[in-house]
Amino acid sequence: MLLLQLLINGVQVGALYALIAVGFSLIFGSTKVFHFAHGATFTIAAYIFYYLYSVSEAHWILAVLAATAGAVAFGVFMDRCIYAPIQRHEGSFFTVFVASLGAGIIVQNLVGMIFGRGFVSVTTPLSRSIELLPGLYVAPLSGIAILCAIVFFGALQIFLMRTNVGMGLRALSENPELVRVYGLSPRRLSTIVFALGSLLVIPAAIITAASSGLNPAIAHHIMLISLAATIVGGVGSLRGAACAGLLLGMSENLALMYLGPQWSEAVTFIVLFLFILFRPSGFFGRAIAS
């Protein structure tokens, strides 16, 4: 029964990780921007939701909308005001990464100053677990997490495959020069990618806030997951990132059978390390080893 319980928790966490990782992977794959502040987007969305829903007791739809607006605005701001000026003179991986890291530090500390550095959590009517079978507790939130992941992936897939903008985005990841030749603006596409990538984090941010709680330093954990899932899944492969997110969530929870919860991040790292050593191209990715 413990195994089943951990499996269900694993799928819930894994679905959220998959959403986070796909957001990062989408941005990294198509714009080549190492968006280290992706974790900050998560923090912003989660704290806006926490503040409006738990502290000012606004309606949940309002809180979700505000969180969405905040996250997307932050993503677009990063692209327009920070990455664009850097890429104008030189866009080496390092420069962009450092600027992004700086933005992440600022957000983490601002959130810490405004909301306190402690642990907060949001209680919703859906967070309470129900005993499905004797000894098996499942919250309705797990179902919502899985449903969200499926809906968002479906929508993303349709968007990328069927719409003109979506095709433009896929072209951008292949060859930005050629995109320009065809009269599309890589800058405008990149803004859309950032908005989309940030949008994907929102369900994960809100459900994490409502199930396991938040602290301002959670961004690092989110980044570790995004990076690990992107690499394990293979860079540029959204399907790979989603599967890898699920795998990381499952392995983290199944490891609880043998190890204490403080080791969960170590498990993520070991999975990542093994992949880097033995299969650096990931599940489905192209070869990236130098």
Partner: protein, 294 residues
């Protein structure tokens, strides 16, 4: 007041050593490690454990700490040899997280969350250092030594090989350079020198716990190198001085709430990193238009 300055100079020297060693792999070998605090920690814990259980002699404890860090650095070098920069950031971030978990869980060696207390003062031929002034001299001497060692190494053919690898790995390979060996060596040297700073830190404070070796420290060190200027000799020292003086500067500003100074400091260097990357990616010391490491 004098005691305050002596303390500050000692801490700046220790941090400058850390920044220089990080710059050694970041600025010259092109390896962006977010796990530098782990090697700092390994050095500190090894030296402390050795001093508590075997001997507090500088000439025994420090080499042991260096050796431990260098051996562990192979864990970092292994993925670094396999993948490019982006992926390596992820691996080192993971190693940092794993390091903190081990530091706080391995109670027999690190004392767990409580840390190690009562580390004896470091001894030179049986004579123990007692005053803070002596520690300041020792820290400055170590800083000087590390600067010398890295400068000599970078001026040698080894340093030129490193820069060649940073600028174009395939070109260096085509010229018959053994890329794997050079990279591994550079990581091991950097880790060993980092351990010197760790040992100094442990002896100076007489108390260490995991708080000093968390991700925040790695990021702070990275900020020192970047703000000062990657791939320059003076840059990391300037960066370390600036970032270490910043908190004391802020504490003179009466209008800032005292409990938030840590956060304000971090926001300040976060903002500095963004602005520098937009306007001057080479850092304060680096040339303004110089191409920085890829």
């Amino acid at each position: 007041m004098l005691a305050y300055i002596i303390n500050l100079v000692t801490l700046i020297s220790i941090n400058a050593v850390l920044a220089i060693t990080l710059n050694f792999i970041m600025g010259y070998a092109g390896i962006f490690s977010m796990a530098h605090a782990v090697f700092f920690g390994v050095g500190a814990y090894t030296a402390a454990y050795f001093a508590l259980n075997v001997s507090a002699s500088f000439f025994l404890a420090v080499p042991v700490a260096m050796l431990a860090a260098a051996v562990l650095s192979l864990v970092l070098a292994l993925p670094a040899l396999r993948v490019r920069g982006e992926y390596f950031v992820a691996a080192s971030l993971g190693l940092q997280v794993l390091g903190v978990t081990i530091f706080s869980e391995w109670k027999g060696f690190t004392g767990g969350l409580g840390g190690l207390i009562g580390i004896p003062p470091v001894e030179f031929f049986g004579y123990g250092l007692s005053s803070n002034t002596q520690y300041m001299v020792l820290a400055l001497a170590c800083l000087l030594l590390v600067v010398l060692v890295t400068t000599v190494l970078l001026r040698s053919s080894f340093g030129r090989n490193l820069k060649a690898i940073r600028d174009s790995e395939s070109a260096a390979h085509a010229f018959g350079k053994n890329v794997a060996t050079i990279k591994t060596l550079s990581v091991a040297i950097s880790a060993a020198l980092t351990a010197v700073a760790g040992a100094l830190y442990a002896f100076y404070l007489g108390f260490i716990n995991v708080e000093s070796f968390m991700l925040d420290t790695s990021v702070l060190l990275m900020a020192m190198v970047i703000i000062g200027g990657t791939g320059t000799l003076l840059g990391p020292i300037v960066g370390a001085m600036l970032l270490m003086l910043l908190p004391s500067l802020f504490s003179y500003m009466w209008f800032l709430p005292a409990t938030e100074i840590g956060s304000i400091q971090q926001i300040a260097y976060g903002a500095a990193m963004i602005l520098l990357m937009i306007y001057r990616p080479g850092g304060l010391v680096g040339a303004s238009k110089k191409q920085v490491a890829k």
